[in-house]
């Protein structure tokens, strides 16, 4: 469910097994996933689930908006079976227009809030409700997409690989200087040390 516009799970996945498709759905790739469950940690709605009792080939399971059915031009099963059009499937702009219309038409019934229009940068699965959403145990979230902070840090410390290269260049310079001053101190040169050095970032 939910299918965020800027999904935290897609950003977090170590191997890129989760992806946001053109049609808005967030789907999981069986052939890539390593089963680390970082997507579950990242998700603010606890959407991805995991086969905890399987040793071989556990799957991350989440709604894919019936990917297989939609390939044949059919609606997602839940939308198809619902008799009262409680669930609607369509373009996001179209759904937002319908939702706003419904709120306007029945302002005495609906709370004037479309859950998912703004939340964490927008969600493709949106809700209308007759009660406040925090009473329905829906998390109260800001409008900033969840991956924004982590991605800006991540892109910052590795920006064009300048910071790491600078760090190692600095270490190299220190090595060179200290080695030279050592050689000036002691005239009899001892054999060179193996060239393995590392410093944690």
């Amino acid at each position: 469910m939910l299918h965020c516009e800027r999904p935290a799970c897609v950003s977090a996945c170590i191997v890129g097994a989760l992806s946001k498709l053109e049609d808005g759905s967030v789907v999981w790739d069986d052939s890539k996933c390593i089963g680390c469950r970082y997507c579950m940690v990242a998700c603010q709605f606890q959407i991805p689930t995991y086969d905890y009792n399987k040793s071989i080939d556990p799957h991350i399971r989440k709604c894919d908006l019936c990917y297989d059915r939609r390939k044949d031009g059919k609606l997602p099963a839940c939308v198809d079976i619902c008799t009262n059009e409680v669930l609607l499937f369509g373009k996001r702009t179209e759904l937002l227009r319908i939702a706003k219309n419904r709120i306007k038409r029945k302002s005495d019934v609906y709370v004037d809030h479309i859950y998912g229009e703004q939340e964490i940068g927008g969600i493709s699965w949106m809700y209308l409700a007759t009660k406040n959403f925090d009473k329905l145990k829906m998390p109260t979230l800001g409008v900033n997409p969840a991956p924004r902070t982590s991605e800006s840090i991540q892109h910052g410390i590795f920006a064009y690989f300048v910071p790491p290269v600078t760090l190692y260049a600095l270490l190299g310079i220190i090595m060179w200087i200290t080695k030279r001053s050592k050689e000036e101190d002691i005239e009899d040169s001892h054999e060179p040390k193996p060239d393995k050095k590392e410093e944690e970032l």
Partner: protein
């Protein structure tokens, strides 16, 4: 210093206690690899990661910090007096990182796909950075 073999007996009470703990762990390891990680832990869909992540990853990587610092002193700063401890420190560091790799192998669901981050990159992922760092640094230690 000339290396000499240890004279006292190997199975001291401490070693025995740790061996019993390790054997106990092996039993649970076997259960995990037969019935899945849900059989030996209390993980569920709301808490997908356990506290042991803090122990196996953070503690083992902290073990390696000594290796980094000693190597920096000995090989980068060229403080020759520290050379005696650089090798054992590097060995500990390598063991620490290797333990992380083993622990992660037990933890992740599809342990046979552990090599995937090598070729499937997602530069946005913080975990990807951790994985690549562990692999690069392990290679350096070796």
């Amino acid at each position: 210093m000339i290396p000499t073999p240890v004279k006292h007996r190997f199975f001291t009470p401490g070693v025995l206690i740790i061996s019993v703990l390790a054997l106990n762990g092996l039993v649970f390891l076997a259960i995990r690899f037969i019935y899945g990680i849900g059989a030996v832990t209390n993980l569920d869909n709301n808490t997908p990661w356990g506290l042991w992540i803090g122990v196996d990853v953070a503690a083992s990587i902290a073990l390696a910090a000594g290796g980094f610092t000693s190597a920096a002193l000995g090989h980068v700063m060229h403080r020759e007096s520290y050379h005696a401890i650089v090798r054992p420190a590097l060995l500990t560091a390598m063991l620490g990182y290797t333990l992380v790799a083993f622990a992660v192998c037990v933890d992740i669901g599809r342990f046979y796909y552990i090599w995937h981050p090598l070729i499937m990159w997602n530069g946005n992922s913080a975990l990807f950075e951790v994985g690549i760092c562990v692999m690069i640094l392990c290679r350096f230690f070796i």
